[in-house]
């Protein structure tokens, strides 16, 4: 071990109480930062997952058409009439689908033929959206199969999968018949093969999944699709990719980031404020380390003078104190990570859904611990800069005389 390391470790070990206190101080700071980071990223990942459970990452629409609203509306009937004559198709969608599937950023491509209609069963009559899909493809964009509460994801000819909300409104169950009537008197009677719950009341009340063919004939879109849904490997790239696709294809491309602008802004400002908090915690940890080391330089003035008299250079003295800062930061971060891990375990024990399952799963990832350790060591070294400079510049004559 180099001389500087030996001296740094010995000095820290000798000043036992001081070293221990500052390591605990660093540990508490790191624990709060790690805990907050883990909690926040767990929370945000969970929120995003919930939001995207019924939404594509990017939706491609024919040019000029307005973005499809996601909210459940009472205006469906209105739109039904307005859009009846202008439901537009995407040109050459098969070619486009096959081309997009080769893009490395894109995880799945799902063509959709959707449009307004009424669901009729007995006396009940509800405004709905027909969503015609290729089930395997669609399922890779929105995990419909996992979200079934009854039946199967089967949308062959004459089959439909509806949301639990609509089923309740219509008093229908799996195996029951359902009549869909669209514009211009086109209509079809389908058997309900499955019920889904996508975690969004509007979607559960509105979407009726049918085969692409069925939808095309009901909506007078023969051979065409009205939109293409995309899933990406990296959610954060959605907006950039949407622009690129729009540029290359001339289609309208709406990313989830744009459709959920308010939500995304909220997430971002949450992250910003947590970064501010983390910065100030790191700053106060740095001041803590610096003040302990400044005191230590004063206390060790005599020893610094002796070492200088023995031939230790200013650079060596500086490194001894920089190392002490780094070591304190490093061990503090280990302690802090362990503390954060305990907090998180405790939190998961206490924060539970009414049914007793954890609200969401978060853990201290090894990457986060490594980052905390690296960060805290760096903060330790940085906060030791000033004390180390003082140690290096100490006049050995004065130090020895004292």
């Amino acid at each position: 071990m180099p001389f500087e390391w030996i001296a740094a470790v010995r000095f820290l070990r000798e000043g036992r109480m001081q070293s221990l206190l500052i390591i605990v101080g660093v540990g508490v700071g790191v624990a709060v930062i790690v805990f907050m980071s883990a909690l926040l990223s767990g929370l945000q990942a969970n929120l995003i997952k919930r939001t995207l459970s019924s939404q594509a990452h990017i939706t491609l629409l024919p040019p000029e058409e307005i973005a499809r609203p996601q909210q459940a509306t009472d205006t469906t009937a209105l739109r039904l009439q307005k859009q009846a004559q202008r439901l537009r198709a995407i040109d050459q969608w098969q070619t486009l689908r096959d081309r997009l599937e080769t893009w490395p950023e894109i995880a799945a491509v799902s063509p959709v033929a959707s449009g307004p209609a009424f669901a009729v069963r007995g006396e009940a009559n509800k405004a709905i959206t027909i969503v015609g899909i290729e089930p395997e493809r669609y399922n890779r964009v929105i995990s419909l199969a996992e979200r079934l509460t009854a039946g199967q994801l089967r949308v062959g000819a004459g089959e439909a999968v509806i949301g639990i909300e609509l089923a309740k409104d219509l008093g229908a169950e799996v195996g029951d018949k359902l009549r869909l009537s669209a514009a211009d008197g086109r209509s079809d009677t389908l058997i309900i093969t499955g019920l889904f719950d996508l975690g969004n009341k509007g979607v559960n009340a509105r979407n009726v999944y049918v085969g692409l063919r069925t939808a095309q004939s009901l909506l007078d879109l023969v051979g065409g699709v009205s939109s293409i849904d995309l899933a990406l490997h990296d959610l954060d790239l959605a907006e950039r990719l949407a622009r690129r696709i729009a540029g290359e294809t001339g289609l309208t491309a709406d990313s989830w980031i744009k459709t959920n602008a308010q939500f995304v802004t909220a997430l971002t400002s949450q992250r910003v404020s947590s970064n501010v908090i983390r910065f100030f915690i790191a700053l106060s940890v740095a001041f803590g380390i610096a003040s302990v080391l400044v005191v230590s330089v004063i206390q060790r003035g005599k020893e610094i003078g002796i070492l200088r008299a023995m031939g230790a250079t200013q650079a060596q003295m500086r490194r001894i104190f920089l190392l002490q800062g780094g070591i304190v930061g490093f061990f503090g971060s280990l302690l802090g990570s362990a503390l954060a891990w305990s907090f998180l375990m405790l939190w998961q024990l206490l924060a539970r859904n009414p049914d007793g399952t954890p609200m969401f799963v978060i853990g201290v990832e090894p990457g986060l611990v490594a980052l905390a350790a690296g960060g805290a060591s760096l903060v330790g070294i940085l906060s030791a800069l000033l004390p180390a400079r003082r140690a290096a510049q100490l006049d050995p004559v004065v130090a020895i005389r004292g």
Binding site: M1, E14, A309, M310, G311, A312, T313, A315, I400
Partner: protein, 236 residues
């Protein structure tokens, strides 16, 4: 006349002032002094006469305001802080009044410290040498003791071993026995003398004790920052 390279220390017109402007006060007023290899010299004088100041200059811990200072022929005026530090580490050993060991290290580690500092990493050879020296100062049994668990006399003997570990040309001792009882003081002094005789190391020892000064080869007397007497001791 001895060979020029026989001169371990050569001072010419050394002045030292503290403060500046109105409050500037000169402590040393032009010191000329030469020490040759193997000399065992005492530096005496009243308190406040500038003995420690002079020793710190010779030890390259401080720089003179003016004048020339050569150690083993090397002009210290030409060196930057790193150069002074290296020269100090290689050529000079220190023994201080308040023994000044580093309490976080063992006796053996304290003795090896100048070598550790110079080489940057511990090695077997430096601890072997430290062990031999501790043996010679009669502390073979205490090698692994932490420095602050030794008595004052023992600590000073460790400090002597440390001062000699690099085989320096010049050992500077500032009242090395000032803090010890007569018995320990005699022991420590005898040790210094022994190393001087055996290795021909040059010693410059500040002392208040006329009895010990009389046992040196040469007595240099400093009063008010000037050398007022410099003579060989007949009986030595």
């Amino acid at each position: 006349m001895a060979e020029p390279d026989d001169r371990v220390l050569h001072l010419a017109g050394i002045r030292k002032s503290y403060g500046s402007g109105e409050v500037e006060s000169e402590i040393l007023h032009g010191i000329d002094l030469t020490l040759r290899r193997g000399e065992f010299a005492a530096l005496i004088g009243p308190s406040g006469s500038g003995k420690s100041t002079l020793l710190n200059l010779i030890g390259l811990l401080d720089r003179p305001t003016s004048g020339q200072l050569h150690i083993d022929g090397e002009d210290s005026g030409q060196l930057d802080d790193t150069g002074l530090t290296r020269l100090r580490g290689q050529r000079i050993g220190f023994v201080f009044q308040h023994h000044h060991l580093i309490p976080a290290f063992t006796a053996e580690e304290n003795v090896a410290m100048p070598l550790l500092v110079a080489r940057g990493r511990p090695d077997a050879e430096m601890f072997e040498r430290a062990g031999q020296l501790l043996d010679q100062v009669g502390l073979a049994e205490r090698k692994q003791y932490l420095a602050n668990r030794l008595s004052g006399g023992q600590q000073q003997r460790v400090a002597i071993a440390r001062a000699l570990v690099t085989n320096p040309s010049l050992v500077l001792a500032d009242e090395p026995t000032g803090n010890l009882d007569t018995h320990s003081a005699d022991d420590v002094f005898a040790l210094l003398r022994e190393f001087n005789r055996r290795q021909h190391t040059t010693f410059l020892i500040v002392t208040h004790d006329p009895r010990l000064a009389a046992r040196c080869d040469r007595i240099i007397e400093l009063v008010d920052g000037r050398i007022v007497a410099d003579q060989a001791v007949a009986s030595a």
